[in-house]
Amino acid sequence: MTLKRIFILALICLFSFGLMISCAEKPDVSEKVAELTQKNAELTEKVAELTQKNAELTEKAAIPAGVYKVGAVFAVTGGASFLGDPEKKTVKMLVEEINKAGGINGHKLELIVYDTEGDATKCTLHVKRLITQDKVCAIIGPSRSGTSLAVVPLAEKHQMPLISCAASYKIVTDEETGKQYKWVFKVPQSDSMAVEALYNYLKKRGISKIAVMSGTTGFGKSGREELIRLAPKYGMTVVAEETFGFKDTDMMAQLTKIKGIAPQAIISWSIGPTQVLVLRNWKDLGMTNIPFFQSHGFGSRKNIKMAAGAAECVIAPLGACNTPEALGADHPQKMVTMKYNKDYMAKYNEPVASFGGHAWDSLMLVVNALKAVGCDRAAIRDYIENTKGFAGQHGVFNFSPDDHNGLTWEKSFNMIVVKDGDWAIVD
């Protein structure tokens, strides 16, 4: 018994010893840090000088002067792969293209993509690795709101520009202070924007009694929240409110219930196969006299095809990249969206999905910043924050210190109707 006690005591001692070292280390480190910081500052000046010279020389000689590393964290596999898959494909395609054209100011662009599987723990570890091991210039992603929220504090702490590909406004807005986070940006439209675009349209058509259906994923939940929050502002009454699971195979029951309530319109907010199934069930139940509206998650031609005719007449607010053909010739996004659609189809033989467009926007923002200021995290951040009139796939971005999303619903959404198996713009 005594032996055991001694043993346990010894263990405790060892542990406290370990802890003590770890505390004792700290002041020491901070002194060193101060010292190093000063040295660093001096060196930075020198580096800046040299960089300028280098830039001049590069211009003259056009010699590849190194590599710009950019990190990406996408949910390439796992439950949210419908987001991460087109995102990864898009950025791979873009990087190839950029490097083929000579890189960024002669620097090769290297993209390090990690798969988060949509898991918060994994995403955090990958972002840490990008910051401390790979030492990238900036990070794009994560794909989901949940994982993005998880890594926002990391980006802030390590002063790393992060451009999220997820929708929630909470990613860029500190809810306590109401201010924008310093280092975090996002490119997708907020859900509230899609809801406003949709409600605005419904109001124009004189619809006020609506049924809301949503998936139980982050996308569906957050859309549902905004739909209910903004309903009074546009004079909408939510008369029915139903949800369905991500892997559900049938929404007949939900729709039957809604049929009994007879709303003027149904709005469904989900992603994945469920958004197609719900349309088929809607048609089967003979409910086509109740107009059906989808979210901006519906933005892939594949969905129209999968719905097997049931998508006809469905309306959704979509970004420009889904319907480049329908844009006017002088539309600022005409060129970029046409090119993206063409290239993507040529390379992967599948139509563009909205989510890939978000990755396009985030990567090109970083590339533009790198082109202008090089691999300097603070300068990249400042550059992005002051970016105005950047024509991306999902809108013309105008960032500012008070707006790290840079989009408005009027400019970033078109109301699109499915007509003869293809998209068409609603005037």
Partner: protein, 317 residues
């Protein structure tokens, strides 16, 4: 496995204590300390689960729920009510214990696959609650802004400090569990595992012991959940889904179910496999992970702790 040798424990302790200092010097593995924090958190769960499954012979595919309850109680009380994290941790453990008693009492009367299904169902129900009760849990987007831990002004704010905190808890749980195994309770548990009727005939109060172990393992999972929440400063439901419960099962089986060391080895190995070593395979990762799992299952039926035994028998023959 009655006696657990002291030497390996001592060696292991020393290894853990010097780990961050070694890792810091080698840049390729300098982030391993961070991963070891998660490995430690998972170890806490598997130690309890190993006692439940390996020693008492009761399967559970619902421990992600207890992990989640601990995490969410900590998160909700600290974020929504601004309480100090330490009492929240304790409250989380109490809540978990109550839930475990309520669920365990009827469930543990079930046998084998029926028990597996009942615990699985419980885990899924809790997951649905995390997902649906948006006002409390933040829904699928999760809860950001969970505060870190500090004790008497000492902040566990660096990876190394948290590493020692987590592994301190792991060692405490480890030693306590070993004591349980070597005590009369442990003998009773093994008797239950071997044959319930026989144990019952010998005067062992089977249901009481089963529930005790179930609750103990749930409390450890809850503690792990709180530690997870305060370390990551963020939680969302997908961390606590059915697949995590299955992952825990895999950890136990891979390490070796009938040995408490197996719990630690399994948790460490799976953590590193899924967070670090396999990402080079990119999209093949899942297949490689499954293949490793299958190969270990086929060739090492007693898990990785069986390896020394196999080597020894090789040398003998």
């Amino acid at each position: 496995m009655l006696r657990i040798a002291k030497l390996p424990i001592a060696v292991f302790t020393v290894l853990i204590i010097i780990f961050p200092w070694v890792a810091r010097e080698i840049s390729a593995i300098s982030h391993y300390t961070d991963i070891m924090v998660f490995a430690g958190i998972y170890c806490l769960i598997t130690i309890g689960l190993s006692l439940l499954m390996g020693y008492a012979g009761q399967i559970s595919i619902g421990h992600a729920a207890f992990f989640g309850i601990g995490a969410y109680v900590s998160a909700i009380l600290t974020v929504r009510y601004g309480l100090n994290p330490w009492p929240c941790m304790l409250i989380g453990m109490i809540v978990t214990a109550v839930v475990a008693i309520l669920v365990g009492t009827p469930s543990l009367k079930l046998k084998g696959h029926y028990l597996a299904m009942a615990t699985l169902a419980f885990g899924v129900i809790i997951y649905i609650i995390f997902n649906e009760e948006v006002e409390w849990t933040g829904g699928p987007d999760g809860m950001p802004g969970i505060p870190g831990l500090s004790l008497f002004g000492f902040e566990f704010d660096s990876v190394v400090r948290y590493f020692y905190l987590v592994w301190g808890f792991v060692f405490a749980a480890f030693i306590f569990t070993i004591n349980v195994i070597q005590s009369g309770t442990g003998r009773a548990l093994r008797a239950i595992h071997a044959s319930e009727p026989a144990a019952s005939a010998m005067g062992v109060d089977i249901s009481r012991f089963k529930i005790m172990v179930f609750v103990y393992s749930a409390i450890l999972a809850s503690l792990a959940g709180s530690l997870y929440a305060h370390y990551l400063n963020f939680i969302n439901p997908s961390t606590f889904d059915l697949f995590f419960s299955i992952k825990l099962l895999i950890m136990i089986a891979l390490g070796g179910m009938h040995n408490i060391w197996g719990a630690i080895i399994g948790a460490g190995l799976i953590t590193f496999l899924s967070y670090e070593w396999l990402y080079y395979f990119e999209e093949l990762e899942v297949v490689v992970y499954g293949a490793i799992l299958l190969i270990v299952t086929i060739f090492l039926p007693h898990g990785l702790v069986g390896v020394p035994g196999i080597i020894r028998s090789w040398f003998r023959s």
